[in-house]
């Protein structure tokens, strides 16, 4: 009896398609602009769709970037209010996602700037040497990254592989799952364990900072 295998997903036994030689019927830009046109006319259903699509990402990104969940929610709400208030100008946009990303980044940076000003860090370092020194001397990023890299090497093989596919190669959880033939949940679990493992390093990393500071003082 011949061997038989069934696949619902198109991984093996796929044909490569032959693309049509003529220019495409409709560009993404044109289809995006239909949605953007609806937004620009104040279409509330269109706003709902865009809100559901981007709110989680804005909130996640802003929260991690600012280090403040409450501020992140404010930023997200602000952005959609901005989109609503300026809806007539949305037709100008080429790429809605990129536009929203830039808004999120700028808003987050503004929050960070205010927080730094409150702590007067910006004023203190205004007369300091160029930026690289801040990183080398204060952040000790080389030592930091060395410890992190070492810990990644210590991870069990599958966990390390999945973590590197995600962080180094930039693959999505879904892509990793398909590549390795695992479920998405398994991939998420591995990444979660990897992060837990790395976060356990933090006391060590803080100790490192202290050590390096003391060493530097001793050099005087």
């Amino acid at each position: 009896m011949p061997e038989r295998k069934f696949f619902a997903h198109l991984r093996s036994s796929d044909e490569q398609v032959k693309y049509l030689p003529n220019p495409p019927y409709m560009s993404t830009h044109e289809s995006d602009s239909i949605l953007l046109a609806a937004l620009s006319q104040g279409n509330k259903a269109a706003f709902d769709v865009v809100f559901r699509k981007y709110y989680p990402k804005i909130k996640f990104f802003a929260a991690r970037l600012c280090g403040d969940k409450a501020e992140a929610e404010n930023i997200a709400q602000d952005i959609f209010m901005q989109l609503w208030i300026r809806r007539n100008q949305l037709i100008e946009i080429q790429n809605l996602e990129n536009y929203i990303y830039v808004m999120t980044k700028n808003a987050s940076f503004e929050i960070i700037r205010r927080s730094l000003q409150r702590q007067r860090i910006v004023q203190e370092t205004a007369s300091e040497e160029p930026d690289d020194n801040i990183i080398d001397n204060e952040l000790h990023y080389k030592e930091l990254m060395a410890i992190i890299k070492e810990e990644i090497e210590r991870m069990p093989a599958q966990r390390r592989r999945i973590f590197l596919m995600s962080r180094r190669e930039g693959l999505s959880n879904e892509q990793i799952a398909q590549e390795l033939g695992l479920s998405k949940r398994t991939v998420e679990t591995h990444i979660s364990l990897a992060l837990q493992q790395l976060r356990h390093l933090m006391p060590l990393l803080e100790l490192l900072t202290l050590t390096l500071m003391l060493t530097r003082e001793q050099q005087f």
């Binding site: 796929d14 495409p24 993404t28 769709v49 602000d78 808003a107 999505s172 479920s183």
Partner: protein, 339 residues
């Protein structure tokens, strides 16, 4: 600093691996103009691959709607310049250009109002559009469509997030276009299925009858009945497969009946319905026939348990979305007696 180091540092920061006392310093570093392009590239990468959970979107959406309503009320009461300046402080958007002003003219005012049809988790619902097109919409899906299609227009456009089955009313003057992510699915009059859930890496289009043209920014292809195309969201790659198209609309039925059907066909249809793969032992007889009935709400484990008990020839093991079928050790000879 090179891009790799910047990427590693930013990733470590977003992962919460940087010690607490260093985080403010790192945020300061992010704001510095040195290597701004590289930093932005790394940040964009984190943004692109973020897979946040969506648990509180509905609450937040409610809040947005309330804010918007309040804003509109105040605006209509009187001009509150101060208010809008406060909102405006968040960022700057370029002013209207002549081109945009033109676009705001007659043409765009002709655009119809879009309505939203949303189906919640675990449900299935259907709607009929103003042109007679019948759509069955699957769980956790949204459809954006105009209440009436412009009779003088040259197209019928709708937007889909999730999964739906379409029976499109024939109208050669106005092709029906489904927009799912970056993919445009253009049909004249036909029956097809589109699976475009937001967190799936592929958008899967299955054609039963008629003709369909798939296109995105770069490429276009024509589909024939019995074909299934997987469109990879990340890079627009399209892969074609020949299928029994009807299998991919099984989800629209409440019950699935098998009358004296071979195990081969049953597994093929279960694979289409549950989006799993079956890895079948060579020694298994796939021509054995079964009669059984499943309710759509049963999950794949319940289904596999029933089939394997009925069959008594195989055991199954599920790894994620791959199900392996092994021949049972015990001989299922008709003359053997079991205790």
């Amino acid at each position: 600093m090179n891009l790799n180091d910047i990427q590693e540092l930013i990733h470590a920061y977003f992962d919460g691996v940087i010690p607490a006392d260093k985080r403010q310093l790192l945020r300061h570093w992010l704001l510095l103009p040195t290597d701004a392009e590289k930093k932005d590239h790394a940040l964009k990468m984190v943004w692109n691959h973020a897979e946040p959970d969506t648990t509180d979107v509905d609450t937040a959406l409610e809040m947005f709607r309330n804010n918007r309503q309040r804003y509109e009320k105040q605006r209509h009461k009187r001009r509150r310049l101060a208010q809008s300046l406060r909102w405006a402080a968040v960022l700057a958007i370029p002013l209207l250009t002549a081109a945009a002003a033109w676009k705001l003219s007659a043409d765009y005012h002709a655009q119809p109002q879009l309505a939203e049809f949303h189906v919640g988790e675990g449900k299935i619902d259907s709607l009929t559009l103003s042109d007679g097109t019948k759509i069955i919409v699957n769980s956790a899906s949204s459809l954006l469509y105009p209440a009436t299609f412009n009779p003088h227009g040259d197209r019928r456009d709708i937007f889909l997030v999730g999964e739906a089955h379409f029976e499109v009313a024939k109208d050669s003057r106005r092709p029906f276009v489904v927009h799912a992510g970056n993919l445009n699915i253009r049909v004249l009059g036909t029956h097809f299925n589109v699976r475009a859930y937001g967190d799936d890496s592929d958008i899967i289009t299955t054609l039963e009858e008629g003709s369909v043209k798939l296109s995105d920014n770069q490429n276009a292809i024509l589909m024939k009945p019995g074909e299934q195309i997987a469109y990879r969201r990340s890079d627009g790659l399209m892969r074609r497969k020949q299928v029994r198209a009807g299998d991919f609309r099984l989800w629209t039925h409440d019950n699935i009946d098998f009358h004296n059907q071979t195990l081969k066909v049953i597994l093929e249809q279960m694979a289409a319905l549950y989006y799993v793969k079956f890895d079948v032992d060579k020694a298994l007889d796939l021509e054995q026939r079964f009669t059984m009935n499943f309710n759509r709400t049963e999950n794949i484990d319940e289904v596999m348990t029933v089939i394997s008990r009925l069959s008594n020839h195989f055991q199954y093991h599920k790894h994620g979305n791959i199900i392996k079928l092994y021949k049972k050790r015990k001989e299922a000879a008709p003359s053997s007696t079991d205790t």
